[in-house]
Every structure is written in structure tokens, then in C-alpha cells.
Symmetry: C2
Subunit: 219 residues, 2 copies
């Protein structure tokens, strides 16, 4: 799948870095911790990826392409199956979220760690704007356009604030902090992406409809 055949050890480095960066953030992880976790000398990370920041970016970008393609494909599919009026709000949000769930269902722990890393970055005042925009803005704007079609007459401001709420709910889910587990005394599980999206889709869809379909109010 990847462009140039990667040495197995450099992939191990990326895997471990992905896991640790997602858990502790950029500054909370040491190159030596990564190297140790990968069973490798500390200099090897520098050899393959350069500076620590370059490694961080490499981890972040490794799966971005595949993720964007999966979500875009889901959007296209739901647009095709929908009639000429385009998909409903629920269908668009479903296309936005479900690909993330499949990533977990494969049992690939790496994907789970990667999504937690995205949550870390997206919620960080320092990294958020700089890193997310470059890789995900184009796709996100396409989803927002699809939502606009499903919500005729929606104002830009309302549309973007609603997306903001959706993005926040998703981000906290991806972070997998375990907080909802404790709050709900075990009735909800952070690790259960399926249940999270089963609730998030009708929840946010109702929010979009209420905020973006409101009759015109006084300015």
C-alpha cells in the first residue's frame, strides 16, 4: 500500500511513536522511549525520520491519505444512492463517522492510536490549527457542503458552528479518555465506537436540523 517498501523497523518506530504521542502528546514522549518500545537504538529514529518533529509529522501523515479516501468514498457512495436531492443530514454524518469505526473493527490497534492522536492534535491550541487544516480541511469542507444541500437556507455561521459541535463530540470520542465509562458507571464504554456513533448520528443530526432550519430570526 505504501509508496516505498518500508524497513520493518522503521514501521515499528512509527507504530510505537503513534501510540505514545497519542497518549502523552508531543512533548510527553522521548525518542528513547520510542526506541525502547520499538526494540531499536535511539539513533535509528533520527536516521529514518530526521528531527523529532519530523517523526511526529510522519506519524500524523502516514494514515491521513487512507483515512481521507475512506471517508470521501463513503460520502460519494451515499450521494450516489441518494436521489437527485442529495443525501439527508443523517446520511452525510453517517458517511463522516462510520469509516472511523471500521478502522477499529479491523482490530488494528494502530488505527485506534492514530485516531487518538488526531484527537490530541485537534484539541490542542498549539498544534490544532496548524496541522489539521493542511490534511483535513478539503475533505471537511466537502462534507459541510453536502450538509448545506441537506439543509436548504442554512446560514453559513450556523452551519459552521454546528460542524464545530459535531467535531467536538467526535474528537472527545476519538481521544478515548475513559471518562464516560466512569461517569456512567460502566453503562457506556469509550472503546465502543459503534455505540458512540449510533448515538452521535441522531444527536448531531437533530442539532443540525434545529439550528440550521430555524425560521429567520431578527438580526
Amino acid at each position: 500500500m505504501s509508496r516505498k517498501k518500508p524497513s520493518p523497523k522503521s514501521e515499528r518506530i512509527l507504530d510505537v511513536a503513534e501510540e505514545l504521542f497519542a497518549l502523552h502528546g508531543y512533548d510527553g514522549v522521548t525518542l528513547r522511549q520510542i526506541a525502547t518500545g520499538a526494540g531499536v537504538d535511539v539513533a535509528l529514529a533520527s536516521y529514518h525520520f530526521g528531527k523529532k518533529l519530523d517523526l511526529f509529522n510522519a506519524v500524523f501523515e502516514r494514515r491521513a491519505g487512507a483515512l481521507n479516501e475512506a471517508r470521501l468514498s463513503a460520502l460519494r457512495k451515499c450521494q450516489e444512492s441518494a436521489g437527485g436531492e442529495g443525501p439527508t443530514v443523517e446520511q452525510v454524518i453517517e458517511a463522516f463517522l462510520r469509516p472511523l469505526e471500521i478502522a477499529q473493527e479491523t482490530g488494528d490497534k494502530g488505527w485506534t492510536n492514530y485516531l487518538a492522536l488526531i484527537a490530541y492534535i485537534n484539541n490542542s491550541p498549539y498544534w490544532g490549527e496548524k496541522m489539521m487544516s493542511k490534511l483535513f480541511d478539503k475533505l471537511v469542507l466537502e462534507f459541510i457542503e453536502a450538509l448545506r444541500r441537506a439543509l436548504p437556507g442554512a446560514r453559513d455561521e450556523d452551519l459552521f458552528w454546528c460542524y464545530h459541535n459535531l467535531s467536538g463530540a467526535l474528537t472527545l470520542t476519538l481521544a478515548q479518555t475513559g471518562r464516560i465509562d466512569k461517569l456512567s458507571a460502566g453503562k457506556c464504554l469509550s472503546s465502543d465506537f459503534r455505540a458512540a456513533y449510533d448515538h452521535m448520528i441522531p444527536f448531531t443530526a437533530a442539532g443540525f436540523r434545529r439550528v440550521c432550519s430555524a425560521e429567520i430570526t431578527a438580526n
Copy 2:
């Protein structure tokens, strides 16, 4: 307002630590950066607060009491003004969110930084569960009970997942990453808490109603 008269310089240390921790996280900040920002020798932080982790906790706990009281007071007030049936979903969520906005309206930059720090902690897989529960669980559970009253027949699982979505939307708002500013090309501003809550309240209220008021579905 505070219990024991604090030395002015120790408050400065807390202020700077609050700002830097919110921006870069626990590991992304150095005691020397904090000391320099506060115009103080590096040893002074240790003298007043002990280890770095103790300083982190001190920052986190400094405003927690006042914040909890403000939100609890808002909940009590809306419960009193409501009839015997209790406040509506919208009113409960309003009581949950608006006190955070007032904190910003005072122009106190410290509160804004503090809320961003909460966002950092709440979204962190490492800190999230450990630190949030101790200080905020009791209040949050009280709000959830108020929401339950407003949503008769709601199932526990649905109620907590809905709160999870609300918490995520709020967390991303508090983080103030500036991402929505860029996505919306300036139509939405991360710094405008007022606008964020104006949209978040009807958005999440509609979500609660839809998910928690649904007819009983097949198991």
C-alpha cells in the same frame, strides 16, 4: 476571595503556569519558562508548590471551586424559577454553559486560560479520567439528573452518551484552537464563547430530545 493571603509572586507563577500549561500541556512547559514569564527565579516555584506535578495540580484546582459554585448556583436558580416539573432541557444546558461565558466577559484572561487547561485535561487519555473525576463528577452527575427529569423515560445509556456529545462540543470550544475560524473563513470566532453557546444550546438540546425521547426500539 481566596483563603489565605497569597504572596503576589506565587499568584503570578500560577497565572503563567496556567497559560503555558493550557497552551503546551504538562510536558511541554518548563519550570524555567514559567519562572521567566513570571519574572521570578526558577527555585521559587518549587518553594511555593513543591514538585512540578504539584504546581500543575495547584493550577488545576485553584479555580475549580469557584467554577463549580457558579454552575451549581445557575442550576439551582433555573430549578427554582421553573415550576414543579423542573426546568427544560434547554434551561439545564444553559445553566451548564453560561457561567463559563461570564468568566470570559469579565475580561479576565486567566479564566480563559483555565478553561483551555480544562479542555486539555478532559481530552487527554492520560490525565482525563484521573483529574476530571475528582473535581467535577459530582456537579456533572447533578446536571445529568436534572436532564433526566426533563426527559422522562430516558435510558441511562442514551443519557450518558448524549452528555458525552455535549461535553465534547464544550471541550473543543474551551480549547480555543482557532480551527473553526479558519474553516469558516472568519464567519465564526473561537474566542466568541457567546456565539458558541448560542448555537450549542439549541444544538445539543435537540440532540438530547431526539435520542432520549425516542420510542422504545427493538433491543
